[in-house]
Symmetry: C2
Subunit: 428 residues, 2 copies
Amino acid sequence: MSLIVQKYGGSSVADAASIKRVARRIVETKKAGHDVVVVVSAMGDSTDELMDLAQQVSPLPPARELDMLLTAGERISMALLAMAISDLGAVSRSYTGSQAGLITDSAHGAARIIDVTPGRITDALAKGAIPIVAGFQGVAQDTKDITTLGRGGSDTTAVALAAALNADSCEIYTDVDGVFTTDPRVVKKASKIDFVTYEEMLELAAVGAKVLHLRCVEYARRFGVPIHVRSSFSQAEGTWVLSAQGVADAVKEGKLVEQPIISGVAADVKDAKITVVGVPDKPGEAAAIFRALADAKVNLDMIVQNVSSTATGRTDVTFTCPADSVNMAMEALNGARDKIDFESLSVDEGIAKVSLVGAGMRSHPGVSADFFSALAQAGVNVEMISTSEIRISIVTRADLANTAVEALHSAFGLDSDGEAVVYAGTGR
Amino acid sequence: MSLIVQKYGGSSVADAASIKRVARRIVETKKAGHDVVVVVSAMGDSTDELMDLAQQVSPLPPARELDMLLTAGERISMALLAMAISDLGAVSRSYTGSQAGLITDSAHGAARIIDVTPGRITDALAKGAIPIVAGFQGVAQDTKDITTLGRGGSDTTAVALAAALNADSCEIYTDVDGVFTTDPRVVKKASKIDFVTYEEMLELAAVGAKVLHLRCVEYARRFGVPIHVRSSFSQAEGTWVLSAQGVADAVKEGKLVEQPIISGVAADVKDAKITVVGVPDKPGEAAAIFRALADAKVNLDMIVQNVSSTATGRTDVTFTCPADSVNMAMEALNGARDKIDFESLSVDEGIAKVSLVGAGMRSHPGVSADFFSALAQAGVNVEMISTSEIRISIVTRADLANTAVEALHSAFGLDSDGEAVVYAGTGR
């Protein structure tokens, strides 16, 4: 008998009818002979509604109280889901994050899980019950105050519970059929990925695939939790996110013909490019720039330094950062002019980052050449380049992003025969 | 510096504007130099809305899950109230019943408080904060499951906390100015009572004064907690509910000219009268009837046995019980015909119980005579009579209830000069 952790997002439990549908699916899994632990998000838009209420009483509510308020959302959905399951004749009990042993630090609104002690969940399983656990929330180890985990919190709750319970898999239910080779809303020929490694999924998540959050995948990789991303609207297999060994085993077991070289292509238009013009080309100058930006908590992504002009002894330093950090970055640099020597700053918000991700590129040296050929043929100019072991990214004009993605998607043989089915809405 | 526990019902925190108004009142109390602990109910109709959701997913939801669901209501109101107080520059923190140490038995939906361990509340007070505690809820000592206290739960939470914290008083905020000598919606000349003993308040609550619940008054009497029932819409003094000694002290201190003989008159039309006709007049027959009713959990109120007819050797036994228990009572009696001998059953749902309550009637023997004279002059026929040390009740026709109440209210000098101000709505 296997143990499966199932996570359902807000859109899967948006109303009474959806909750009853999800309850039937959970009971079917139980009847098929599996132990099931369920993690659930707040119903549909209820988190937004609670945020609205908070704004009405205080423009800047204390983070502790905001967490207390928002955790009411999962309390409602989990109790209703347990009722719906009971109504089908199975035994179910709901547990808050605190009751389920999700121990966190005390960073309200973005708490990190530091321990999972699911004693009440294992007790419930031993009694044949289906435990329903509130996603997104925990209890602070030191203050005993209720915390929330921030973005992607419910997925992380599910993976953390799966790790602590040594579950056979963690099913993340969503409104799409799995993880796609690229955004199916943009590229009609996007294909569903059957198997992908944690490392590839991390790169895909970082460059804009929105199905799973980075921290949930990081947690799964650290504890080796197999993730199955699938649709709550169908019984079809979704995408398995596994270790490299897990994917290799799938090939051996014939579930997969061979491990694909490339798993996906993604575009991200949320970054901006800042150029620091005329920086003296001498040791310590770049360090001072990046120290000032780090102090302002600006997350840098790609960094390029031009070849120095021998005439002036000066060079340009260019970096990308989230577009909503541009003001902070500019203030930080202008505010540090007594320590940093430069001539001017220029900002370019019309950029896109296009990335190719694939664990197979490690052992296939031709990938870079094919990548740049495909872009050249499609008329996509490359402004910046950065690479990791399993990713190549370039910066180009934002209006060329889709052209670049489609060209790469075709060139690397990712185009599907049919059209991807896309559903609306996302959970938290 | 005194410590005041303040309880606000659902109608006092029905929306953002009400929450901000209550927050100002709390901060004013704090600024006046008092320590304040606040107990709050769920916002307005939110409990009903949660019940509706539960009904949509399951016609008969498990009591444990219903408690989990309903406790989300106070979680929302308490967090919002803490935010509103913080917004006014004071420090406030919200606590669930469990966090505040409200330890109960595991009778979901109607749990009883068995211990109060408010360590986190005293810590918060020591740090100068205003703790906001969820009313109506606790945590079961044995199962660690979340419980609700049932009707009057928030008032009971407030009194229990006041007792555990040794508070100077427990203020119960409502939408009327206090406890009245009779229902001001029926009798325009109803007067606000300034001081009343726990015993009188218990009798008044039992006979239909809906401002305070029986169990909250019982709890206050057991621990000697002074209750101050007052309006959240005005700064006027409301009604103090105290021990007999406390009321005597108020007279001594000149807060009250003298202790009134009569504190109130109430009518209750929710009872029905059942007559068991033709019961053999021999030992054990009445006991068998009341055993059958007790087994069916029918709460009896007044009981009368007629004088036996010497011709038949049979008598009639008449009792009153809540009208919604009539079917249960009839089934219990008909189902026990093998053990109980009687000729027939008759039911009368058109009755009213009218009661006069006053601690002073102990030492004023003329009260009964005045009581029946007033009823006779008003043309009110008396069908049954029962008395306690501080109460006289009669049963009459339901359509005479208001006539009886008005006659008694005038006869015992309770009529006020002005008209009572009545607001809409009630909390839980």
